[in-house]
Symmetry: C2
Subunit: 211 residues, 2 copies
DNA sequence: GCAATCTGATCGAGCGCTCGGTCAAAAAAG
DNA sequence: CTTTTTTGACCGAGCGCTCGATCAGATTGC
């Protein structure tokens, strides 16, 4: 699950690696959100983390490694949050609206991070970029599964596979849109307004479905 | 309208400036789309444009200037396309579905450019960044107006202002999503599939409205 | 012949990353 | 228990290089 293991290190003690990398990620997220990836220097990262440039490179082989650690951590947090919803969720219609609500709340809470992810994915080496995109698909897949289950339990009309997948993507995208367009939305709407509207929009897809 | 005038140059002949900058933009768009803004060097830009690094800096004071010229050009193209739709469009329901279709086709045709704009806005100096965001709002405003007109002509249920604006944003966002998630969508869907689905989604919002 | 335009060698700040070295603490030896 | 040796986390000056930007001189066109 956690990709951290893929990144080589000079340090022998695995627990220390985990702890230090957590420090690195915490410091870097903050710096990247504030100044962007390119304007952040490795020295800044080291300083903010609380050790020297040399030590930084004991735990990481390149600046891109840091970027990947950051992306991985953000995804892990989003996914953990979404997974938590699922374990608590009810069945059928209820489950869907709860998942939508909680997902949009996550996007609200983590809008800085979501924005960062989008700005930054392009700078990852190809194989890691691929993993980030796979994470994206996996989260969308969760929504698709909720739709499937609700349909299977007869609580919502069955959508064909392809349509269900598009609905799932719409949920993902409209959550991220709250982060992208925060500068506009927050002038006119609360997150509750937004949740109410998008929930209604998603459910209205089902209304015309049985015709 | 065209912001080109804002950017200082050493060259006396304004027509030459226009022509050369067009060359610069054409070459740069290609390079930026392929390699991104940061990985593209000023030397590459000069070479691709067909003159020396020195000459480039006769027409432009910085690399950021090039970026702004590029954004401005893309912006102009999108705007021209959207404006063209409006002049051709019918009334009421028809107008809405036509506008959705054409807008999504623009997003399809210009997906590289839309992706580029999003990746690159963050590197613009604040006042130019602001202009890009204003443009974003203006395009969304066009959709809102189409919704208003359709409602006024009685062909669609009236939405309150705030809801109409959210619907308009959804159209904008879902168009851009086709560009962002092209890597996934194109594996499973044609742009026609996508248009059909999103059109249905938007219209279904109106179905539950009169209740 | 003089402006206007173009050229490309040259500059130098800034950055990612390296590598020889230090030192505290653990392990081994006596 | 004391001394010696080994270990490995931590350090930071500095290397190598990139790349945006400059400018003095060459070329062109009127």
């Amino acid at each position: 699950m956690n990709q951290t293991a893929d990144i080589p290190t000079q340090i022998k003690d695995p627990n220390l690696v985990l702890q230090r990398r957590r420090q690195i990620v915490d410091a870097s997220v903050k710096l990247f959100v504030e100044n962007g990836f390119h304007k952040t220097t490795t020295r800044q990262i080291a300083r903010a983390t609380g050790f020297s440039i040399g030590s930084l490179y004991e735990y990481v082989a390149s600046k891109e490694d840091v970027l990947y650690l950051v992306c991985d951590a953000i995804h892990a947090e989003v996914e953990a949050s979404v997974a938590k919803i699922l374990s608590d969720a009810s069945q059928g219609r209820e489950a869907l609206s709860e998942v939508i609500r909680e997902y949009l709340m996550i996007c609200h809470r983590m809008s800085d991070h979501i924005l960062l992810m989008y700005q930054v994915t392009q700078f990852l080496p190809p194989q890691w970029k691929k993993k980030v995109l796979e994470n994206e698909i996996r989260i969308t897949g969760i929504f698709r599964d909720v739709l499937r289950h609700a349909a299977a339990s007869g609580d919502l009309p069955m959508l064909d596979e392809k349509t269900a997948e598009l609905v799932a993507h719409n949920i993902s995208v409209l959550g991220q849109a709250w982060a992208f367009r925060r500068w506009f939305y927050t002038r006119n709407y609360s997150i509750e307004d937004y949740i109410a509207f998008q929930t209604k929009t998603i459910f209205s897809i089902f209304n015309g479905q049985s015709e």
